[in-house]
C-alpha cells in the first residue's frame, strides 16, 4: 500500500469536496482537473466514472469512489470517498451553528451569485473536452443531442438515459 498515493488521493478529493459549490455536478470539473493532472484515468475512464455515479443511487460525488479504486484499489476507494464527503459534513455542522448570522448576510448570497456562473462555465468546459473526440461519429452526436433534450424535458431519469446510451453503444458494435 502506497501511503503517499493515498495521501495524494485524500488531499485532492478533500479539495474537490470543499470547493464543489453549486450542487453535485459542480464537482465534475474539479474531479476532471485532479484526474488529468495526476494522469490517473484516461478520458474514457473518467466518463465511465461520472456515468457510474449516475447509475448508482448515490450522489454524483460517488464517482470519487471509482477514481480512488482505479488509482489505489479498495483502500483508495475508501480514502477518496471519505475525503470527498468530509467537507459536506463539516460545512453543514458549521452552517447549523452559525445559521442566523449567515442567512441574514447578503454577502453569502452575493458570493453564490458570483460562483454559479463560474460553475456553469466549468461544467461546459468538461462537456466540450469530453465531447470533442465524439464529433466524428454521427451516432454519438445524435446520442448527445437525444440525451440532452430528454434530460432537459425531465421525462426520463439520468440513470436510465445513461443505461440507454450504454445499450446503444453496444448495439453499434454488432
Amino acid at each position: 500500500m502506497d501511503i503517499s498515493l493515498l495521501y495524494n488521493l485524500a488531499h485532492s478529493f478533500f479539495k474537490v469536496g470543499m470547493f464543489g459549490f453549486g450542487g453535485g455536478f459542480a464537482m465534475v470539473p474539479l474531479m476532471q482537473n485532479v484526474v488529468h493532472q495526476n494522469a490517473w484515468l484516461t478520458p474514457v475512464q473518467f466518463a465511465a466514472a461520472i456515468a457510474l455515479g449516475q447509475v448508482t443511487p448515490g450522489p454524483v460525488a460517488i464517482s470519487a469512489t471509482f477514481i480512488g479504486y482505479k488509482v489505489a484499489g479498495f483502500s483508495g476507494a475508501v480514502v477518496a470517498t471519505i475525503a470527498v464527503f468530509i467537507p459536506s459534513l463539516v460545512a453543514m455542522y458549521l452552517l447549523d451553528k452559525f445559521y442566523l448570522k449567515i442567512r441574514t448576510s447578503h454577502i453569502t448570497q452575493a458570493i453564490m451569485h458570483g460562483v454559479l456562473p463560474v460553475v456553469i462555465a466549468i461544467i461546459l468546459h468538461v462537456a466540450i473536452s469530453m465531447g470533442q473526440p465524439l464529433m466524428h461519429s454521427w451516432w454519438q452526436i445524435l446520442t448527445v443531442i437525444a440525451v440532452a433534450s430528454l434530460a432537459i424535458s425531465r421525462r426520463i431519469s439520468y440513470g436510465a438515459l445513461i443505461a440507454g446510451s450504454v445499450v446503444l453503444g453496444m448495439l453499434m458494435v454488432l
Binding site: F19, G24, P43, Q45, A47, L52, V55, P57, G58, P59, A61, I62, T65, F66, Y69, K70, A77, F85, P87, S88, L89, A91, M92, L95, D96, R103, I107, A110, I111, M112, H113, G114, L116, V118, V119, I120, A121, I122, I123, L124, A127, M130, W139, Q140, I141, T143, V144, A148, I152, R154, S157, Y158, G159, L161, I162, V166, G169, M170, L171, V173
Partner: protein, 209 residues
C-alpha cells in the same frame, strides 16, 4: 396560534428524538432506492423524513434545504447530514451519512472491479462510446437547467463568460475560477453598498423618505 403549534411540535420533537440506529436505517433505505439523483431523491427524502416519520416539521425541512444549498457538495448529502446532525448530533450525523453512502459505495467498487477487468473487450468499448456520449448529453442538460435558474443580471453574464474564456485559453485549475467568481460576487456587494451610502447621504437631508 401558529406559533403555539410550532412550539408544541418542537417540544414533541425533542421528546421523540430518534436514536442513531433509526436514522441510519432510514438513510440506508434512501441510499439504496434513491436512484436518479436530483428531484426524485428530494421527493423521497421529504416523504421519508417529514411525512412518514415525525422527525422534523415542514418549516425545519425547508430551512435545512436552504442551508444545504449553501454548503459545498451534493445537495442530498448536505441536506441529509444536516438533518442527521439536528436529530442526534455529530455521532448520528457521521453514522447515518455513512449508511446513506454505503450502498452506492459497495455497488461502485464492485462495478469498478468488473469494469477494469473487462475494459478492453470490444463490447465494453462500444458501451463506453455510448456512455461517453450520454455523459456529455447529461452535462449539457445540467448546464441548461443551471442557466435557466441563474439570476438574470449582467454581472452573472460577465463573470460566466469571463470564466468560460479564461478556462478555454489557458490551463487553469477550476478551483481558482470558482474562488474568483466568489470574490467577484462579494466585490459587487461591497461596491453597491458603498455607492448606496454615497447616494443616500445627501438625499436623507432633503427628507425624501
Amino acid at each position: 396560534m401558529q406559533n403555539k403549534n410550532e412550539k408544541i411540535l418542537e417540544t414533541e420533537q425533542t421528546d421523540n428524538a430518534p436514536g442513531w440506529l433509526d436514522v441510519a436505517r432510514v438513510y440506508l433505505k434512501i441510499g439504496t432506492i434513491g436512484f436518479g439523483g436530483g428531484f426524485a431523491v428530494m421527493d423521497l427524502i421529504h416523504s421519508e423524513l417529514v411525512e412518514k416519520h415525525p422527525w422534523l416539521t415542514e418549516q425545519r425541512y425547508q430551512n435545512m434545504v436552504a442551508l444545504a444549498e449553501m454548503a459545498p457538495g451534493a445537495l442530498t448529502v448536505n441536506l441529509l447530514s444536516g438533518i442527521a446532525y439536528r436529530l442526534g448530533g455529530v455521532k448520528t450525523m457521521i453514522l447515518a451519512t455513512t449508511a446513506l453512502i454505503m450502498p452506492s459505495f459497495v455497488l461502485i467498487t464492485l462495478l469498478a472491479g468488473a469494469f477494469l477487468a473487462w475494459q478492453n473487450h470490444p463490447m465494453v468499448k462500444g458501451a463506453l462510446d455510448g456512455l461517453t456520449a450520454g455523459v456529455v448529453g447529461l452535462l449539457l442538460a445540467v448546464v441548461w437547467s443551471m442557466v435557466k435558474k441563474a439570476p438574470r443580471h449582467w454581472c452573472c453574464f460577465v463573470v460566466g463568460l469571463l470564466a468560460f474564456v479564461l478556462g478555454i485559453v489557458m490551463p487553469i485549475n477550476p478551483i481558482w475560477l470558482v474562488l474568483m467568481g466568489g470574490m467577484a460576487g462579494a466585490l459587487k456587494v461591497v461596491v453597491e453598498t458603498l455607492r448606496n451610502r454615497h447616494i443616500n447621504t445627501p438625499s436623507e437631508n432633503n427628507g425624501t423618505k
